[in-house]
């Protein structure tokens, strides 16, 4: 359907979707940048995400507050189907690729970050992604549940488990002769 063929309802839906996309596009890009090994590929993934969002606009949630996690769920699905993204490259995504490739800072893994990152990685994929959606992307636990397609109650219990494990892992008091790189609570 072209824009000119849109009905009034389509137009309203499109306007609402556009507002939601514009409000979240940069955050979606950040989500993708943080999870793709080659940051420039995040441009293609963003383009693919928005393409899928547009195609599924008839199913977008009626509640405005639910739109943000709904969009992030598309970004996550794009990562799970990453091969499609590069096949649909456009002038815009190509330009954004070039920018990201040139502007992306070199990754510097400080030892202190590595210690925490290792603890988070040890949580396993389900708990880890939940924790990262909350602490990297700033989503609420309920919104993260939408992205992960799990019940909110499940997300809450998983989050509590994850935080308890992280506290256990990172709560060791410094010991004389202990290997450096750990984290301790004061």
């Amino acid at each position: 359907m072209t824009a000119a063929e849109m009905t009034g309802t389509d137009r309203e839906r499109g306007a609402r979707l556009e507002r939601a996309v514009r409000a979240n596009a940069v955050d979606l890009l950040a989500y993708l940048e943080r999870r793709i090994d080659t940051p420039a590929d995040a441009a293609d993934a963003l383009g693919e995400t928005l393409l899928q969002v547009w195609r599924r606009r008839a199913k977008m949630p009626a509640d405005d507050e639910a739109l943000r996690p709904w969009l992030f769920a598309f970004a996550r699905n794009t990562l799970l189907n990453a091969r499609k993204a590069s096949r649909r490259r456009t002038a815009g995504t190509t330009a954004l690729r070039g920018y990201l490739a040139a502007a992306h800072p070199a990754v510097v893994d400080h030892a202190e970050s590595l210690a925490v990152r290792e603890a988070v990685a040890a949580l396993g994929p389900d708990l880890r992604e939940l924790v990262l959606l909350v602490h990297w992307e700033g989503l609420s636990i309920s919104d993260a549940a939408v992205v992960l397609d799990i019940p909110a109650s499940t997300a809450r219990s998983r989050y509590a488990v994850a935080k308890a494990r992280l506290r256990d892992e990172l709560d060791e008091a410094p010991q004389a002769g202990q290997k450096p790189g750990g984290i301790s609570r004061a």
Binding site: L28, R34, G92, T93, H135, I183
Partner: protein, 216 residues
């Protein structure tokens, strides 16, 4: 409070386990004008509605950043770009001099201190408590900004930067400065220093019915 030790046994203090996790987020590309424009291009490619054109009426950029330090608010470097990809802390609908419906939005940012700094937190609370719909504007400030905008427009027309007939929206700046002053006053009233707070204002104008915009 957590200590994080690096390879040299130096200790870095992190307030909470939450901050420790957040600190491991991989760095993303710098958010500047070029990136926002490129993301906008991708959005326009992928969301194929008839375009409404983003207007840039306020100060010629659509973005205003006000530093709260000193005795009065000050305009920050013009290269600051309000990130449309994040939610504003406050917004108001208004009609600009061109008759367009506009959203004027504000966001509080920390400058050189953590976003969790008490002054920043109070600034956001003050902003959220401001009734933007009924905000009272100082007539003297309004008239001053209108006169300056008119002079600036003439200068830009004479330089050929804009065409005659282009309208500025000085009242948007007046509203923004008023909001920033109220926030600074509120932070000071709480006994805190507003010197590390930036209030950014951004404006998006145009018909929202999907009709094509003919530009300025």
């Amino acid at each position: 409070m957590y200590w994080v030790r690096d390879d040299f046994w130096e200790v870095k203090v992190i307030d909470s386990i939450d901050d420790a996790i957040a600190s491991t987020a991989p760095t993303v590309a710098r958010r500047d004008h070029e990136l926002f424009d490129l993301v906008e291009t991708v959005v326009e490619e992928r969301i194929p509605r008839r375009r409404r054109k983003r207007r840039a009426l306020m100060l010629g950029t659509g973005v205003l950043a006000l530093l709260l330090g000193g005795t009065s608010v000050a305009l920050a470097a013009p290269d600051l770009h309000w990130p449309w990809g994040t939610s504003p802390d406050g917004a108001v609908e208004r009609v600009n001099p061109a008759g367009e419906s506009c959203t004027l939005a504000f966001k509080v940012h920390a400058e050189g201190v953590p976003e969790t700094d008490p002054a920043v937190v109070v600034a956001r609370e003050v902003l959220s408590a401001i009734d933007l719909e009924t905000l009272e504007i100082d007539p003297a400030l309004r008239d001053e900004n209108r006169a300056r905008a008119a002079a600036d427009m003439e200068r830009r027309i004479s330089l050929g930067v804009v065409k005659r007939g282009t309208r500025a929206d000085p009242d948007a700046e007046t509203i923004s400065r008023t909001v920033a002053e109220l926030i600074a006053d509120g932070v000071r009233a709480a006994g805190l220093d507003p010197g590390h707070i930036v209030v950014e204002g951004g404006m998006l104008c145009g018909d929202d019915d999907g009709s094509r915009d003919d530009g300025n």
